[in-house]
């Protein structure tokens, strides 16, 4: 039990936020150490301090028994600390090998780069990680999972001692996660210490030797895996029990009032011949592994894909959504999968992010925006959805993922939609906020909204859906009702059927 990293009374203050308060614990050499906590609990902040991106306000760190000050990323790398961030940081226009050696290219004098050697070494690095991604492949042609492996390969420098993985599986399929875990186990056997951040607690219970918990920037304790149950872990993280957090949805409505009928919807290469009905007061879950066409289906419904055939009927009338603005006029709303890229406006404050879609309802003929109205609307949703913020004029980027998502939900509720399309609504959102978000969703359903819920998290699909559609390779392969909505059935249809 030799500690490799010791945090001593680490405190980090941001303007208005105490990100970390007096955090002390140690990571043992050669273990897989999980770091868990809700979003905004301070996990990433702590890792960024370790990785040299931030410096702590007060407190000290020891690395390999020696007190250290890590001023920048390069210092961390030189000490043998590698971080794979939640948001992948690869250059899509470069090859795998070029990415792996970015910033530490192998040179052969006169500033010339030795591509051959870099390719050879990349290939062996890939083999060490059990994959055969060709070093000459461009990163943009890789799947997210493959990109993650490249990212890991890049972090594993010759003197790697500690590898930090910040939510590596949030974008991965089950199978891809499995192979990542194998890689982690192998690295552990080679003596690398791994710090693993994840929201997927089941994974942690399978994988990690010890787990440390942060809540609201405060350290809650470290447990050996055998000493703690999943239930207890959730309780410490959220202060709530899992059953409170994600209980079953009610399914109290008769699903016999068709609102939206999709007929023979196809898009070349994405999905084909989709037929289904969405009822009033319904949460319709759509499940499938990555690449099954779930997201593409939502995009097509919302007018983000114009290369489609087939048609839609809303309330018995044929409609076409050729653009999102047409879709909005027809009563559709969509929370997109990629919050950062397609969801938030980084230059806007919370207020502006909420009102950006309502436009015509709050402006007069000349286009003047009525600020009293918009303020009322955003204040209303702030209270109704319980968005945690300093005030409405805070920049949205300073909010946690869950609260950002609530802002985006508010944006769409403000358009008074009839049909709400949500895609990976709780990606990167912690358990507590997840529960709050789904509570909102259920209330919307009870208020008469029809919701299509696309998710790669089975537990969400099972607990929230009134009915489940399963997609595989661009086709609808099953419709599940009532008792049929269970893990085994859904996975069976999603993978083989």
């Amino acid at each position: 039990m030799i500690p490799i990293i010791e945090f001593n009374h680490i405190t980090k203050l941001f303007p208005g936020v105490n990100a970390l308060v007096d955090v002390s614990f140690s990571v043992v050499k050669g273990e897989i150490h999980a770091l868990v906590g809700e979003n905004g609990a301070g996990k990433s902040t702590l890792m960024n301090i370790l990785g040299g991106l931030y410096s702590q306000t007060t407190g000290r760190m020891k690395f390999c028994g020696k007190e250290v000050v890590i001023n920048n990323e390069l210092a961390a790398i030189n000490m043998g600390i590698g971080i794979v961030y939640q948001e992948l940081k690869l250059c899509p226009n470069l090859t795998v090998a070029e990415n792996i050696f970015l910033g530490r290219e192998i040179k052969e004098g006169m500033g010339k780069v030795n591509w051959k050697k870099m390719n050879v070494e990349s290939r062996s690095a890939m083999l060490a990680l059990n994959t055969e991604i060709a070093p000459e492949t461009f990163v943009k042609n890789l799947s997210i999972a493959e990109q993650q492996i490249v990212e890991i390969a890049r972090s594993i420098t010759k003197n790697i001692k500690v590898l930090i993985l910040d939510e590596p599986t949030s974008a991965l399929t089950l199978k891809e996660s499995e192979s990542l875990f194998t890689i982690m186990k192998e690295l552990q056997q080679k003596g690398v210490t791994i710090i693993y951040i994840s929201h997927r607690l089941e994974e942690i219970m399978d994988l990690c030797d010890r787990v440390s918990i942060l809540r609201d920037g405060k350290y809650q304790g470290t447990f050996v895996r055998e000493e703690i149950t999943l239930k207890k872990l959730v309780k410490i993280i959220a202060g709530k029990e899992l059953i409170d957090v994600l209980g079953h949805s009610y399914r109290k409505y008769e699903l016999n009032k068709p609102l939206l009928i999709i007929k023979n919807l196809s898009s070349p290469g994405l999905f084909k011949n989709l037929n289904f009905t969405l009822n009033k007061n319904e949460i319709l879950g759509v499940y499938g592994v990555q690449g099954a066409g779930r997201t593409e289906l939502l995009e097509a419904i919302f007018g983000l894909n114009n290369k489609i055939t087939g048609y839609m009927e809303l309330n018995g009338k044929r409609i076409t959504n050729r653009s999102p603005s047409e879709a909005i006029n027809n009563g559709f709303a969509m929370v997109p999968e990629d919050r950062r890229r397609v969801g938030i406006f980084p230059n806007f404050n919370i207020f502006e992010n909420i009102i950006v879609s309502i436009g015509k309802d709050v402006s007069n003929l000349l286009g003047f925006v009525n600020n009293c109205k918009t303020l009322d609307i955003s204040n209303k949703y702030k209270t109704e959805l319980g968005i945690k913020m300093k005030d409405l004029f805070q920049n949205i980027q300073n909010l946690s993922g869950g609260n950002q998502q609530k802002v985006i939900i508010s944006r769409w509720l403000a358009t008074s939609p009839k049909i709400f399309l949500v895609d990976e609504l709780t990606r990167g959102v912690d358990v507590g906020a997840k529960a709050e978000i789904f509570k909102i969703l259920r209330k919307l359903r009870d208020d008469g909204l029809s919701i299509i819920l696309v998710s790669s998290e089975l537990t969400e699909i099972i607990s929230e859906s009134d009915r489940v559609l399963v997609m595989r390779n661009g086709s609808l392969v099953a419709e599940l009702n009532g008792q049929e909505i269970n893990k085994d059935k859904i996975i069976y249809h999603a993978l083989c059927g």
Binding site: S323, P324, M334, P346, N349, G359, F368, N371, C372, F393
Partner: protein
């Protein structure tokens, strides 16, 4: 509550301008100390007069840049509009027709820039670079590269004096073109900060994909910004013709760089999404004060270019550094 929110909006939006404004104040103090002529009313009016046309176009440019685009064709469109107006008037056309045709010319080039860079999916940098040459080339062909001058000998239409008064006249000592400039600033500020159009320009410039998914027709917004800029170029061109009483094919060359400089000094981000009309207004003033002050100090005009270059880089650098610190 609501009141305090409004105050916050103001503060939140004006932190950038405070910095730019401080720079302007420092410049004014510096030139007041170093040159006895600087603070004279006549000189200040002269500065205002000199920056008016540049300023009018900068208002449009701010909107284009905030929408995430750029317009290199403003100088050429400005010249083209002036030539069109001048040729119509000198060929016996009525003055109103000259003005309307010039406005249409500006609007046409602006809208074309917008359509090609949105529906045509050609980067605005390329479209407007091309349009700069197209506008410049077509007026050179049209005018045969001659100087078109307005006088009682060349213009038969009535109202030449009132047309010239527009560019040369003063009301209470204040040049009319400057009054038009100030009006443009006010109207632009209303459009930019009070209307949906202005809000959506910032949305589109801040995150194009999110704007599309939020149901905003980003093509329309961008075309509007470009068209407005074209229109403002035409207004500038007409006023230029009126104040000089002549125009030639090369009028306005290089103007685009001054306009973009003023906008950027004013704190507008070239990445789009951030910037204000007030900031640009101050940026325009800084350009005017600098140019004027340097001349008053008797510094060579070559050195003047050098100093303006330094100011542009410094303005952006300070902005970037202060922002990365606050992050």
């Amino acid at each position: 509550m609501v009141k305090s929110f409004k105050v916050l909006i103001k503060i939140g939006n004006s932190t950038r301008e405070i910095g730019v404004f401080a720079a302007l104040v420092l410049l004014v103090i510096f030139f007041s100390i170093t040159s006895p002529y600087f603070l004279k009313v006549n000189n200040l009016l002269n500065i205002i007069r000199q920056i008016s046309l540049l300023g009018i176009i900068s208002m449009g440019m701010t909107m284009v840049i905030v929408s995430g685009e750029i317009d290199l064709s403003v100088g050429a469109v400005y010249g083209a509009a002036a030539i069109v107006c001048g040729m119509i008037i000198t060929n016996g056309g009525p003055i109103w027709l000259g003005i309307v045709s010039a406005l249409l010319t500006g609007f046409f080039f602006g809208a074309l820039n917008g359509v090609l860079s949105t529906y045509g999916r050609i980067p605005a940098l390329i479209v407007t670079l091309g349009m700069m040459n197209i506008a410049r080339g077509s007026v050179l062909v049209l005018s045969g590269a001659r100087v078109i001058s307005l006088s009682s000998r060349t213009v038969s239409a009535e109202g030449l004096d009132s047309f010239l008064f527009l560019g040369q006249g003063k009301i209470f000592q204040i040049p009319i073109i400057s009054i038009i400039f100030i009006l443009t600033v006010i109207i632009a500020n209303i459009i930019y900060s009070k209307t949906l159009l202005g809000f959506r320009m910032r949305a589109v410039g801040g995150n194009k994909s999110a704007a599309r998914a939020a149901g905003i027709n980003q093509k329309f917004i961008k075309i509007a910004a470009f068209s407005l800029t074209g229109l403002l170029c035409a207004i500038g061109g007409i006023l230029n013709l009126s104040s000089l009483a002549n125009v030639q094919g090369t009028t306005g060359s290089g103007l685009e760089l001054d306009v973009i400089s003023a906008v950027i000094i004013g704190g507008t981000s070239l990445n789009g999404g951030e910037g204000t009309i007030l900031g640009t207004f101050i940026g325009v003033l800084i350009m005017g004060v600098l140019k004027n002050g340097i001349i008053l100090l008797g510094v060579s005009p070559f050195l003047q270019m050098l100093i303006i270059g330094i100011v542009i880089i410094a303005a952006v650098a300070i902005d970037m550094w202060s922002r990365s610190k606050s992050e």
